[in-house]
């Protein structure tokens, strides 16, 4: 699947397509930190999923309403106690992990509530980021479009870091996808060449 047009913002969202490829048609989905709901809407329209978004921000909730998706106003930091264990085929956390305080907690909750978890995040190990650090500055880039003093991203990580966390949380990684700055799959040195990482994982039993 190639680049996808995001109907809500009319911008290209290759990450949507990457996630959609993993979703079985008709699946039941929970999208954590769903923003304006455009990913869920995209998955509903292309994968015929049934789902709910979880979002804390009022403005985003209204946008979800306009996008016609189910959304539950809830603080992810408080966990997912309102959701039954094992009640979703996929629990998605798309580019939200790095902004969460309870990183480990949310991974645990994803493993509890979903049969599979899907996480995407900007790779801090991307070579341009590393160059900026070497040059003496915190990275500012397409996927990290903030300065150090105004960023909501408090838990940035590299591919290697995330994989270590999965191991620690008893999550078995089923599939990994890494995209380059040009939205192409990265096969060599992903932790260096990848700008965006996607993981699909499940509970290790």
């Amino acid at each position: 699947m190639n680049e996808t047009l995001n109907p809500a913002t009319n911008t290209l969202r290759p990450d949507f397509a990457a996630i959609a490829e993993w979703i079985k048609p008709g699946a039941k989905i929970l999208d954590l930190g769903c923003g304006d709901g455009s990913l869920l809407r995209y998955l509903r329209d292309t994968r015929d999923v049934f789902g709910y978004g979880v979002e804390i921000d009022d403005d985003n909730l209204l946008k979800c309403f306009h996008n016609g998706i189910n959304v539950i106003q809830n603080d992810l930091e408080a966990g997912l106690s309102g959701f039954e264990s094992n009640s979703f085929d996929y629990v998605i956390l798309s580019q939200t992990l790095q902004a969460m305080r309870h990183t480990e907690g949310i991974i645990q909750e994803m493993l509890r509530v979903g049969k599979e978890g899907i996480v995407s995040f900007p790779n801090f190990g991307y070579w341009r980021n590393r160059m900026q650090v070497i040059a003496g500055h915190m990275p500012v880039s397409e996927t990290l479009p903030y300065y150090w003093y105004d960023t909501p991203n408090i838990h940035l990580c590299t591919l290697g870091d995330f994989e270590a966390l999965c191991h620690q949380c008893n999550a078995r990684i089923l599939e990994r996808r890494v995209l380059s700055a040009h939205n192409r799959p990265v096969n060599f040195f992903p932790n260096l060449m990848g700008i965006l990482a996607f993981y699909r994982f499940e509970r290790r039993t």
Binding site: L62, V71, I72, N74, F83, E84
Partner: protein, 369 residues
Amino acid sequence: MGVVTPQYVQIVKPLQLKSGYVLDSYHLVYETYGQLNAARSNAVLICHALSGNHHVAGIYADKEKSSGWWDNMVGPGKPIDTDRFFVIGVNNLGGCHGSTGPASIDTRTGKPYGASFPMVTVEDWVETQAQLADHLGIEQFAAVVGGSLGGMQALQWTLDYPERVRHAVVVAAAAKLTAQNIAFNDVARQAIMTDQEFYGGNFYAYDTLPRRGLRLARMLGHITYLSDDSMAAKFGRSLRKGELSFGFDVEFEIESYLRYQGDKFADLFDANTYLLMTKALDYFNPADSYNGDLSAAFRVAMANFLIVSFTSDWRFSPERSREIVKALLDNKINVSYAEVTTTHGHDSFLMEAPYYHQLVRAYMDNISI
């Protein structure tokens, strides 16, 4: 909305109440706003709360200050848009604004029912509202909407008539009252029932009203519908005369406000209706028939839901709404839930917080008719 006129319907089909009592016939007073479309697919029922009635929107001719209780929500161009929807407000059975209630004449005795008026429940109200829908030729509601006790009716609709409700908008409600909530209701009832003018509910015969009791009940209720913060912001410790008078007359503004609200209410509202409404609140518990399993209770529901709560509402707290949401999620039902940040407590559902109204508007706009 403009000028509106109440209408009446006499229902002659006997009604078997949940208590077992059979009411042979009763009438309901209702108002409608907007036009029922040819497909009869744009009807919205508004269920009222404890002290509400059928007068949801608009004003009465030749009567100032007669705006409906949800006039900020319902009307042309309002969140529940009467240019698009055919909206119905109905006074519940047992009410005191025109539907058959304790002050109505019992044809068997020729006297007001008074204490002999049967207990009514949320389920009973839904049944009477379904009779009204039949009368109006409405097979299915686009939405049933309610706040507080009204929200309970919207919930019950989706259980008793799943195929007759496409959407339920449930605001500041609960799937059951907590012990604390029942306790408040009972203090209110005791205030009324221990008033010497109550005469066991038959005060009509004595040409009097249990004003003191009703006033206390309302004052207590009013405190619980507001929040500590909103009372602090509105009244603080402001003094009526600017200085202490070292007496038991009104000194603080909050006292003045509560007494005024209590007095106003005591002259307008029927004490027996107040008792009935609070009991209906206490009894509501759809999970009761399912060993307390609310998710099991909602297995039959087919509607799409919007659940709204308010952060400062401690009488019908967000936790209660989240219980409803959980039960709906467990049944893979379409539901959206919004927790609106306000300072106005339970009364927030009647107020015009921008985010709250935008949510309801966006939700209603998405309803296809």
